[in-house]
Structure formats: structure tokens, C-alpha cells
Symmetry: C2
Subunit: 502 residues, 2 copies
């Protein structure tokens, strides 16, 4: 007897967020939508904080218009988004009425499945969004952020899943944003959730590929009963991205599991993005291969490179090893938060400060907020000495309530501020754009009428000499009249290049 | 109870053969040898046909000297080589006395483990080498080449393993050179071999990573009882290469299996090759990501690109799809040979001929030999019509005997021919070099005294301006006096480049 395994493709959101700095324009996605719509996916993830931000900040695209485009082009598919709980798509907690309004508008514009998470796994930061999604008649997926620490046991993850079920979640996601999920814990957690929440509670597993082990984790999760897994079409996969969709499908052959994906359709999607992605080369992640160091340091690859540049700016490039050893100590002091945006940056920056200036001699305001409960509760007790120092440094009191309980209603204020901006169209959607990205929204509203501005660049077989503007410019500077050969070193790769005038 | 899983690292042979066109020089490997030697591997694969060929053809290195260097630098390790059965490291069958001599000399120079395979899985092409290795007191590993066809059942692979055991093999290798091995057949074949050959017969699994599913296949092979698996350190892995060693080790955590590898040592090896590999960028395989099309076409990626260039040379670049459809028909007519060197080239070229000129209107002499049994027996019956055409075209009779039975003793002839070459040192090793690579050996012998010639090129963080010769040359041509920006397109990737004088 074969069991159906469903698949969510990440190509429209997390794949290009992880591998192309979220820069892909809607115009480069629409061509793949009809095939994606017909391929037999459980859902298509296509919207989230970084894509929203990138739309208004870099692409001059209205993210709501992008969503409506997807809805129109994929009428047969569940459209899925990633929602940061009470933070929505922004970087602070919002008042409940803003959460309600956002979920209602997202549902009305086309989202079917809301994957709701909190960086600290604090369910109080997720429960309002869950309720709002349910009220809008849509699928609320509660999320367990996976991490490794002495307190993050299988039992603790299962207990969080049980609480999410009690809040009304329609499914549970295990979110492995750092590719830390190994096969055995994947099996144990899925088994545990199925036992605690009932076999009928759908379990959805999200992994990244960075460490090279997570396709095996998906295999074991499926053996344990996982219903849905996340992958990305192979033209934009691996590295800090995800496991390839086609490989997942092929992997199941002969096993007592099957997908319902149409590989011919997927191959068309693959070819589409094979054409598109080279044009975003300038934004391509350096993490294209396997990196298992994260298992040792517990520090995501992207975070290490951030810390390296922070240190170099301070003239302390030689202190990286010390910082890598400091991070686990800071994480312990802070109650073992999962290292994911924004906790990874907060913990990493404090570790840098500790190494450069001595332990907690200087405390960032974000780290103080984390220590004092303003981001929510952590899984373990925090270090009382460090709490005291955070209190002294920030002159704030520790809190234990749900952080959003401290907020006043703010919709009307946000609305009137948004309406004053040139180009704001007065819709709730525009107010939400302003609410979540108050610094980027004004410029976007004022320039929106100019239409999308893709940051993709021409690619293909064309040599340098077919880039007319560039060549003209080069000739103006150099007077090159015949081919010149260079050995060009980019990062750690060398290329033989011939440059010639036209 | 935890079971030990042993690991063979491929970094010194198959990894750079698959990813860097076998171009890595010995000088770029020696730095990693002490750590490889101490890391806790079952064996280190470090010698084979392509590395031997590359040494004398491109690197002006004596391959026997490379082997002795490895032996000296890795005294605690089993050194492993890949041997093409009766073909040794060359492209034809050799008389038995040459096989004996080669195995004896390889053992004397340092090889401990001989992985012996035949492209057609014809055991008669392997048995002399097996006997010679046993006589030399070394480990003879019999190989089952994995492929997919109606006749390549689990039972057929298990039966071949049983026959290899009967010939005295010390272990059985399942060799998945095309990354076709999915998890379920991996499990079934290992289980079957363990049942047929006894639990004590070591089973060693070799896979490539191309299709993205084979780390999962290794997981299932281990569950079925596989004793040893092949991987490569992560600085030279994935794509047409192999699964990363570090990921395999991490994958086992928490499962009832463990390795004995020292990950700190492996990390030093990783850093070593992270420095080395960029200098071989010019030889780097284009197959660096996942490609699952091979499951559909059954044609390895490298073979598709070969066929594409053959077709383009004939002005028939538009006929690729027809050729891809012809290949399975040709393979069927030839009795379903596994597609691996040389059978992949033989079948692929005949498919191109069939499409361009009509089915079997022209038959290559190699394809005729394949049809008439001169490469050995295939797993299935061949098409009698095509046999007849091959017979007519080549004016040769079909044979059913072991091909090497037709050969006369040849050692003395080879020896006297080799001794006439300028620079030949008269050793058996030099005679073997001449025997296996008669066209490349003369030049190598005559130039050997000049010493190794690495084809690696400078790399690293250095910008263009620190490549003095190149910059001087460029300035001479261009008179560049200030930084110039270019958009440079290499293949399908664009880079922003700044060139400045020094």
C-alpha cells in the first residue's frame, strides 16, 4: 500500500530569497506559473517578508499586485505565505487589530495557507495570527522552529505542536531554516507529533540544504508519517537553498510512498528558471555547496559572514574564532533562542561586542530587549546576571506578559500617516505596506506609477563585446583597439577573459 | 547497539576526476595526506585509469612515483585503486600475463585494495585480475556496475555478487557511476547480497551525486547492512562528483550507526582543498548542480554533452532529441550494457550514426565489436538482425569465449618495444605505462626528466591588479591609467569587474 506524499514548491519565495537575495521580479516568474499550477503541488509558497520588502525596496513592484497576479495565474493551486506571527512581515510586534487586518487582506488577495512562526517559538506571538487566519476561513499552519540546544528536546517540540493544535492550527510545520535537522530527530519529531496530535494532523517539513543531510531527513520524516515536504525545482536549489523537487520525487520510486507531481511539467518549470537565474548572478549566494561547519558552531553560514565583516570593520578580523566560541555562551545566557532572523543577528552582534569589549561591557538595545522579554519568552531560563546588566544598560524593566499586550491600538494612526504620503492610494493594503516598512514605503508610493524595475541583467552566451553601453564606456576610458587578455580573479575563482572593441 | 560504518574517501581520485577533469597534480595533494592518513578512513582511493593517463599526458608525472608518494605519506592507510578488469587501466583487453604483472607491481608499489570492474559486468573479464590480486596477497574487491534495464533485476545483481564471491573476492562493491541508484533498490540489493553471500561479506557502496538522491540511497544501503560507503570531502563534492564525507558522518548521528572519522582532521583536509581547487577552475565540470533528467533518458550527463558536440560538428544540432530517443533502442539491441566508459561512448556514437544515416546504415567498428562479443557478454540477448549487420560491416565473426582467450602472450613484445623508447628506464612499471598508453608513453618517457608540470593557475583573493605579468601586458596594449568597469559575461554568468593599473 502506497501513501501519498504531498509537496510544496518554494521556487517563488524561499528559493530565490535564499539563493538570489530575493531579487527575482514578478515578470521572471509568470512564465512558469501555468505549469506550476498544473503540476500537482499541495501548495506553492510565493509570498513573505523578504519578497514584500524586496518588491517595494528594490523592484518598484506592489507586493499585493504580485500576489493578485499569482492568484490569477494559478487558479487551481493553494498559495502559501510565511508570516512572522505578531511581527507580520515587519521587524516589530504589531497591535492585534493590525494583525487581524493583515490576515484578512492577505486572504482576500489570494493567500490560502498561512505558515505562522515566531523566532523564539513563543506561542503567544503566534496565537492572534492563528485566530485571524481561521476567522478569514483560511488554512493556519502552526510552526515549530527547529534548533539544537540542551532544552530543545523532541518532547519540547512535540509539546509546542500540541499547543499549536489546541490554538486551532490546521497543520504543523517543522521549520529547519538552518539545515540542522538530521535524519533521526526528523523521524522522532514527526513520530512524536503524529502520536501527540493524532495521525490526521498534517505534518509539513521545511528544510534547507546547506549541510547536505536534509534530503535524508525528509526521507526519514516521510517514513515517520510526514504528509507534506518542501522542495524547490532543481534550477534554483541546494547550497543555502533547498532540496531539489525532482530528486524528492525520484527518491520515492519503489518505496511505499508516491507523489502526484507531473515531472514533465516540472521539467518545463526547470527550463524556465534555468533561463532566468543567470540574469541574477550578481545577487547569487556564495553558499552554493555543502557546509557542515554549522553543526559544530551552531551558527548559520550567513551569520558567520556577517560577523566576519563586522569584525573586519572594527579592525579585529583575527578575532573570528573567539567570536564563534562566544556565540554559544551568549545563546545560553539568552535562554537558547533558535538562531534565525532576528535572533541570529542579535546574538551574533552581542557576541562580537563581548569579544571586543569584554563580556556584556556594552549591550545592544536589541539584546537588552531579548534578555528582558520584549521579543517573547525563550525555551530556557536566562542568566540573571546578564538580565540585570541588560536592565541597567537599557533602563527598561523585564516583562513576562505577551509583548503585544503592551501595545495600544495603532491602525488609525498608521492609516492617517500613510494617507499623508504622496502616491498612497488609500487602500488598507497601502496602509499595511506603510505599517511594515515605514522607511521604504514613502519612496515606493511616490514612484509606484513608474512601474516595475527589474534588477536582472542580460545573460546568455553573449561575450563582453555585445554589451554596447559598457563597451563604449570602456573604449572611452581606454582607447582599446585590439583584443586584450586578462586573468580575472573573482573571489576565489580565476577566469581567462578576452576583451575586445566593437 | 551501534554498528560501525566505514568510509572510503574519493578526494584523491574520483572526486577530481569527476569535477576537475583529473587534472590535480600530486603537489596539490601531498599537503592533505597526513590528515587523510590519520582521519580514520577504511581506505583512500587514490589511483586509477584516468589519473594514470592524466599524469603522463598532461602533468609530466610518473604515476608510479605518485603512488609511492602516497604510500610514503599515508603509512597507516589502505590505498585503493580502480581497475578495469582485463583492460587494466587501458582501453583494450590485455593478455593474462600482463594482468598478472600489473597487479603484482601495483601491490609492490603500494596498492592494498583493488576495486575490479568490467563495463559489461562480464565476470570473465574480471576473474584473472581477481586471481592476480589474491596471489599478490592484497584485497580483491569484486564490482557490480549498477544500471537500470528490464534485465537488471535485484536478483541479477545479487547473482553476480555471488559469482564474485565464488571467485575469491574479499568484498563486493556496488558501483553507481551514473547516480542512478535510488534508495529502495540500494536497500534491496545490499540486503540481497548480504543474504546470498553471508552477513560477513563486506558490501561497499559507491555512488555519484548527480541526481541528488544518492545520499538517501547510502542511508538505505546502510540500513540494509552496507559496511563501507564512498564519499568525498566537501570542498570537492556534489554535481557529477560525490556525496560529501562530512554530511555522511553527521547524517548518522542519533542513528544506530556510527563512523570512526575524526571531523577535525577532515576539516583540515577540507580547508586544504578549498585552497587548491579554485586553481583548477578552467577544468571544472559544468555539472555542479542536480540533474535528474538522466532518470528519464538513462543517459549520463557527460554523454549528452558529448553527443551534442558530435551532432553540432555534423551540422545536426537540432537532432539531439531524436538521438536521446534512439539511445535506449541501441542499448536494447546491444543487450542492455551499462552505460559507462567505454560502452557509453560506443552506444552514444552509434545512436548518432543511426539518426543521421538511418538505423545501422553505418556501424562503428567499436559497436560491431560490442555486438559480436569482443567486449564480453551482455546481460540480455542482442538483436540478431543487428548482429548480422555488424558481422557484414566488420567482416568479423561473433565470439562467445572470454575475449582475452584470443590473445597471444605479449609481455616480451611490449617490453622490447618499450625499451626502444628514449627515456624508458627499463622497469616493469615503464613497460606497463607503454602497454596501457602506447601513444602518450613515448613523449612522457622522453620528457620525464624535466619533472612535473602542474596545469593549476594562480587563484585566491588577489584582484586582477596583483597579477603583475598580466597587468603589464594589458597596460602595454591599452594604456589604462584609471579603473575601468566592465560587465563580463562568461558562459551564462555575468560579473561586474573593475580593472585598474598598478
Amino acid at each position: 500500500m502506497s501513501r501519498l506524499v504531498e509537496i510544496t514548491d518554494l521556487i517563488l519565495r524561499d528559493a530565490h530569497q535564499s539563493l538570489l537575495a530575493t531579487r527575482m521580479a514578478t515578470e521572471d516568474m509568470v512564465g512558469a506559473c501555468p505549469d506550476l499550477d498544473q503540476a500537482g503541488y499541495w501548495s506553492l509558497e510565493c509570498w513573505g517578508g523578504a519578497t514584500y520588502d524586496s518588491c517595494i525596496r528594490f523592484l518598484n513592484e506592489d507586493p499585493w499586485e504580485r500576489l493578485r497576479t499569482f492568484r490569477r495565474l494559478m487558479p487551481n493551486s493553494r498559495l502559501q505565505m510565511l508570516l512572522r506571527g505578531q511581527n507580520l512581515l515587519g521587524y516589530r510586534h504589531y497591535a492585534d487589530e493590525v494583525v487581524d487586518r493583515f490576515c484578512e487582506r492577505s486572504a482576500a488577495n489570494g493567500i490560502d495557507v498561512f505558515r505562522i512562526f515566531d523566532a523564539l517559538n513563543d506561542i503567544r506571538n503566534m496565537e492572534r495570527a492563528i485566530a485571524a487566519v481561521k476567522k478569514a476561513g483560511k488554512h493556519a499552519q502552526g510552526t515549530v522552529c527547529y534548533t539544537i540546544s540542551p532544552v530543545h528536546t523532541v518532547e519540547a517540540f512535540v509539546e509546542l505542536a500540541r499547543q499549536l493544535q489546541a490554538r486551532g492550527c490546521d497543520s504543523i510545520c517543522i521549520k529547519d531554516m538552518a539545515a540542522l535537522l538530521k535524519p533521526q530527530p526528523a523521524y522522532d519529531i514527526v513520530k512524536g507529533i503524529k502520536k501527540a496530535c493524532g495521525a490526521k494532523m498534517p505534518v509539513h517539513v521545511h528544510t534547507h540544504a546547506t549541510t547536505g543531510v536534509t534530503l535524508v531527513a525528509l526521507q526519514k520524516a516521510i517514513e515517520a508519517g510526514a504528509d507534506i515536504v518542501d522542495t524547490a525545482v532543481s534550477s534554483l536549489c541546494l547550497g543555502s537553498g533547498h532540496n531539489p523537487t525532482e530528486s524528492l520525487v525520484e527518491m520515492l520510486e519503489g518505496q511505499p510512498y508516491h507523489s502526484r507531481l507531473d515531472l514533465d511539467r516540472i521539467d518545463k518549470v526547470r527550463r524556465h528558471f534555468d533561463q532566468v537565474t543567470p540574469r541574477y548572478e550578481a545577487f547569487m549566494s556564495a553558499y552554493q555547496t555543502v557546509d557542515t561547519r554549522i553543526f559544530k558552531s551552531q551558527i548559520p553560514g550567513g551569520m558567520i559572514s556577517n560577523m566576519e565583516s563586522q569584525l573586519r570593520e572594527q579592525g579585529a578580523g583575527d578575532k573570528l574564532e573567539q567570536v564563534l566560541e562566544e556565540v554559544p555562551r551568549v545563546r545560553q545566557a539568552a535562554g537558547y533562542p533558535p538562531l534565525v532572523t532576528p535572533s541570529s543577528q542579535i546574538v551574533g552582534t552581542q557576541a562580537v561586542f563581548n569579544v571586543l569589549m569584554g563580556p556584556y561591557k556594552a549591550i545592544t538595545s536589541e539584546f537588552a530587549d531579548l534578555m528582558l522579554g520584549y521579543y517573547g519568552a525563550t525555551a530556557a531560563e536566562k542568566d540573571p546576571d546578564v538580565i540585570q546588566k541588560a536592565q541597567a544598560s537599557s533602563r527598561k524593566e523585564p516583562i513576562t506578559c505577551r509583548p503585544a499586550d503592551l501595545l495600544n491600538p495603532e491602525w488609525n494612526v498608521l492609516r492617517s500617516e500613510a494617507l499623508e504620503l504622496k502616491g498612497c492610494n488609500g487602500s488598507d493594503e497601502d496602509v499595511l505596506t506603510y505599517a511594515m516598512f515605514p522607511t521604504a514605503a514613502p519612496k515606493f508610493f511616490s514612484e509606484r506609477a513608474q512601474g516595475p524595475r527589474s534588477v536582472a541583467r542580460p545573460a546568455g552566451q553573449a561575450p563582453v563585446s555585445t554589451q554596447p553601453a559598457t563597451v563604449a564606456q570602456a573604449r572611452e576610458h581606454t582607447g582599446i583597439t585590439e583584443p586584450v587578455r586578462y586573468l580575472v580573479t573573482l573571489g576565489d575563482r580565476s577566469h581567462k577573459i578576452t576583451v575586445e572593441p566593437m
